[in-house]
Every structure is written in C-alpha cells, then in structure tokens.
Symmetry: C2
Subunit: 321 residues, 2 copies
C-alpha cells in the first residue's frame, strides 16, 4: 500500500446512492468498491443501517459490509441514525460507525425527529454496545457534527453551540467528532475558525476529519483551508454524487476525482491512482445510466507530464524524478 499524507474517505456508495432515485444493484456496488480499492482508496462509507422502507437503495448494506470486509487494507465505514442501526452495524462488522448529530436542533427535529438530548442518548447507548464487545472487534465511533456551519432553517449556528455539542458527543463515548458542512454554508475562514475552536476545547486527536460540500462552489477551497489548519481526513464522493444538491447543476458533495487531483498536484500523497480512479468513474457512470456526474479533472484530463505525489513516492532513487 502507498504511503499517504491525507486520507480520502469515499462516501459515494452511501451518501451518493441514497440521493438518487434508482437503486444500484448489489453487484454493481461491489464492483465500484473493488475498483476504488484497486485505485488505492482505503476508506469507504459503504452504506447506512436505516430501515429499508426509508432507503431501499441501501437495503443491502449488511451484505456490502460483509463483502467489503474481505478487501485487504480497506476501512469499512457506515452511517447509523440511531442505536438500533448501530446494532446492525456491529453485527455486520463495520470498522467505523458514524452517528450524525445536527447542530441545528430544528434541522435535527425535521430530519431525524430527535432533539439533541435524544441523539446524545443514542450516542451513549452505541458507546455502551461497543464497550461490551471484545477489544479487537470494537469499531471506531465518530459523532458527526452536521449543519456545523449553518442551517437552512435556523441560519447561523453559533460556534459555541457546535463546540458544546462536540464536547457532549465525546462525553457520550464517541472516539472522535467530525465536522460536516451539510448545507454548503462554510467558507475558508469559518472552516479554520471552527477547527481552532474545537481543538481548543477537545484537543487535536478528537477532530481529524471534515465532510465538505460544493453547494456554492467552495468545496476545494474549504478543503485547502482545513488542510492548512491541520486536518487530514476528507470526505468526498465519486463524481460528486449525493450531498443534497439544491438545484440542477448545483452539486452537493466534493468530487473525489478533483480532490485527489488537487492534493496529488500539491505534492500531498493520497495513495490513490488518478487514472484508475477515472476508470472507476466511467464504470460507475455506466452503471448509473443517466445520472449526472460532476467534476472537472476527468473531463480535462491530467496535465501533460503530470507527476502525482503518490507515484513520485514510489520512484526509486537514481531514476529521473
């Protein structure tokens, strides 16, 4: 496996597929995950343990988790809305479990029908279930601070509230919190300020990753700000699938292809081979049919003579660099 400077966490099979009407066949999902792993992707959010009636697109999550666990070197991540979903995730053997908590309580009530106190109680239950497992079977448990940069119902979400909720999630037993710009409200300055505030309250180990959207075109600029601040894990979605786009042409999630291109061009190793990633995009596009994909680098192609950081790392001494 290649050395990495940053971890690109692919969320397409969960966040992307739950946002589109069609259900991707299980075999196509497996082929996507296979291709991503072959390209060097080392963490994939493969599904969500929600009632199949709500999200039939993800009804095969347990099967996908079992399959993905067989791929060497892959961290198999899942989303869970509550302790009941977490029980399924633990039974399936996911390596990482993420519970979203919407920092805007209005948004939490509208989307999860739960108050902050209720979500924190779910977090406590999940942490208890994990502690009851033998150490070698315990997954990493992350509390995701969604709408951390603002909410379409409440508008601004005070930074102090986000910090307090992060502290509450850690106290409830999360191993880590993650920042999520669910609504595309973040900008480079607010990203840096939020990271500084959370690190001041929780220490650096409690926050290493961020889930940013490209809703207003600032996705990669916000990634750059977060990377400059010191974060090392970045969520993104192949072809920018998912992430609740607001309007046609407005994308939600950051595009994995462009994100990897940016880091590799900067000399920051992602461990991912861009040409292979572009191939995966082609295959996923074919499997999705008419679903529009986003991203610029796959259309423009790589610059002439481009030397990605990950490949440079594997060049032997003595070879022309």
């Amino acid at each position: 496996m290649s050395l990495m400077d940053v971890l690109i966490s692919e969320v397409g099979p969960r966040d992307g597929l739950q946002s589109i009407a069609a259900t991707m066949p299980t075999d196509a999902k497996k082929a996507w995950i296979d291709g991503a792993v072959a390209a060097g992707v080392s963490e994939i959010e493969v599904g969500s343990f929600v009632p199949p009636k709500l999200l039939p697109q993800l009804a095969d999550t347990a099967e996908i988790v079992a399959y993905a666990r067989g791929l060497p070197g892959l961290t198999v991540a899942v989303l869970v809305p509550n302790a009941r979903g977490a029980a399924d995730a633990l039974a399936a053997g996911a390596h990482k479990i993420t519970l979203p908590l919407s920092c805007s309580e209005s948004h939490s009530l509208a989307n999860l029908r739960k108050t902050h106190a209720q979500v924190l109680e779910e977090a406590r239950q999940i942490a208890g279930m994990i502690r009851a497992l033998p150490a070698e079977r315990r997954p990493h448990f992350e509390g995701s601070l969604s709408t951390a940069f603002g909410c379409t119902i409440e508008g601004e979400v005070p930074r102090a509230k986000v910090v307090a909720l992060a502290e509450a999630l850690m106290a409830a037993g999360c191993d880590e919190v993650g920042l999520a710009d669910t609504t595309g409200y973040a900008d480079p300055v607010s990203v840096k300020a939020m990271i500084a505030a959370l690190w001041a309250a929780l220490g650096r180990e409690a926050l290493t990753g961020i889930h940013l959207h490209n809703t207003r075109g600032l996705g990669l600029a916000n990634v750059l700000a977060a990377y400059d601040a010191g974060l090392t894990t970045f969520d993104s979605s192949l072809g920018g699938l998912g992430g609740c786009p607001f309007a046609p042409g407005a994308s939600g999630n950051i595009v994995t292809e462009d994100l990897v291109f940016m880091f590799e061009a900067m000399g920051v190793r992602t461990g991912i081979d861009l040409e292979r990633l572009f191939d995966v995009r082609e295959r996923v596009a074919a499997a999705l049919g008419d679903e529009p994909l986003y991203g610029f680098s796959p259309l423009a192609g790589l610059p002439l003579g481009f030397r990605p950081a990950t490949a440079r790392n594997t060049i032997m001494e003595g070879e022309p660099a």
Copy 2:
C-alpha cells in the same frame, strides 16, 4: 463607492465573448457592463484590439471602450496582441492595456506566431508609445505571463523561465506583470511558489494579480492560495464564460459569482453586491441564449442570514452586526 480589500477584474466581455460562436450585440454588451458597474464591479476587460476578421465578436471594442469610459469609477481594461492593437487601445482611451506573453515559446508560436524576443519587442514599442503620451493619458501597461504554470505542448514550464520572462517584460517597460494559468495546470502549492519567486526577483509592486482557470476544478482553491500569499487582484468571468474549456462540462474561467461569494463569506470586501451580480447573470444568460453558464452560488442562492463583508462595512456603529 464601497471600500475593497480585493479587486475582482471581470474579463467576461472579452475572454468570455471571444470564446463563443455567437456575437453579442453592442447594446447587450453595454447593458452587461452597466449592470456589472451598478453591482459594484470596478474593473472590466471590455474587449481586445485584434483584427475583426479574427474575432468578429470583439469588432466593436473601440465603441465599447468609449462607452465604458463614461461610467464613473470604472477601470476600462483591454487586451492587445501587439503594438498595432495597442495603438488602437491608446486611441480609444483604455485605462489599462494587457499584452500576453506565453511563457511556453511553443505555445507562443502556435497562438501568436511570435517568438519570445518578438513579443518583448512589441512590449518595448508599446511602452514607448505610452511614454510619448501626456502623463494624465498614459494607461497602466501589464504584461501577462500566460501558460506560467504549464503548457499543453511543452508540459512543465520551468519557474526560472517564468521569472526571466517577467524580468524581461519589466525591462521592456511594463508597469506590472500578471500571472495567468492559461491551461488550468496550477495548484495551490505551485501558485504560492510562483508568487514567491516573482516577488523575490521583481519586488511586490511588480505583481499584484492573477488570472486563474477552473479547468480541473481548482480555480477557487488556487485563488485562496494566491490571496493567502498576498495577491489582491483576481480575474474572473461572469458565469465562467470563456477560458478555452477543453470539453463539455469542463469550465475555463473562474466564475465571478462564486469568487465574490467566497471572498464576501470570508469577510473580504470585493465592493460587489451579490444579489445584483446574480441579476446581471440572468440578463447576460438571456442575451446569450443557449450558451451554458457555470457557477454554483447563483443556483444554490445565498445562505440564510448571509452577511456579505461589503454590506457589513456599511453598517453603522450601534446597529446589530
């Protein structure tokens, strides 16, 4: 006029319109420029003095310059390919004249049919023509370092070559050089390194602006890097028009709307009112017919409760901020 922290230089009426097949009527161009100025845009590249046979879309540049000069507070910029075009620009009364020099000599020969030495000779002639004018009529003369971050023919362009050409342009009599990522090869690290190299050689006053493309999706991340490094002038195009897109869906120029949104969200004043800018977009879209426009923020709309930096600046003390 609003106070500004950065200067957004709108290049759509030149760079955008020269890239599309249709010719926008002169009145529609004037309406675009009127709308942009009303929104707070203070510098516009309104056209290019090239032979009308080559670019019929810009055949009315002299009339547009004369019109735009009547708009208070607006810097009227034009592109010129050579001394002959510069003579027309001087006669028309442009405030700013930009001469592109392609750092890749292969690219220069392919596009302008001129060697570096020949372009530098044009620069010397233009500088001489400007010096011959009374001081109050002398325009600002910029040499633009195109393909500074790489070239589709030569690949990598050595940084030392860019620095040497910048020195040659200044020696030829330019007031300033500008960086241009003509091919979309730049990344945040190369942007910062190039700025540092040019400032070390020429001093900070010789380079204040950059023309970045979004060909591979890195446009705003590269802007952020350039801003962090200390540049203060950023070219962009309404709706991302122009900039030699490589393929359908792949945009060329940075989108003015998203660029202004990013800075205003960061608390950096552009002097531009976003809602008015979105209105200009609508009018230009209508005038262009089927031409696709790029950009995310106009589709997503502004965040709930959004407070742009430019507006915040005008809030009186004592009002809630």
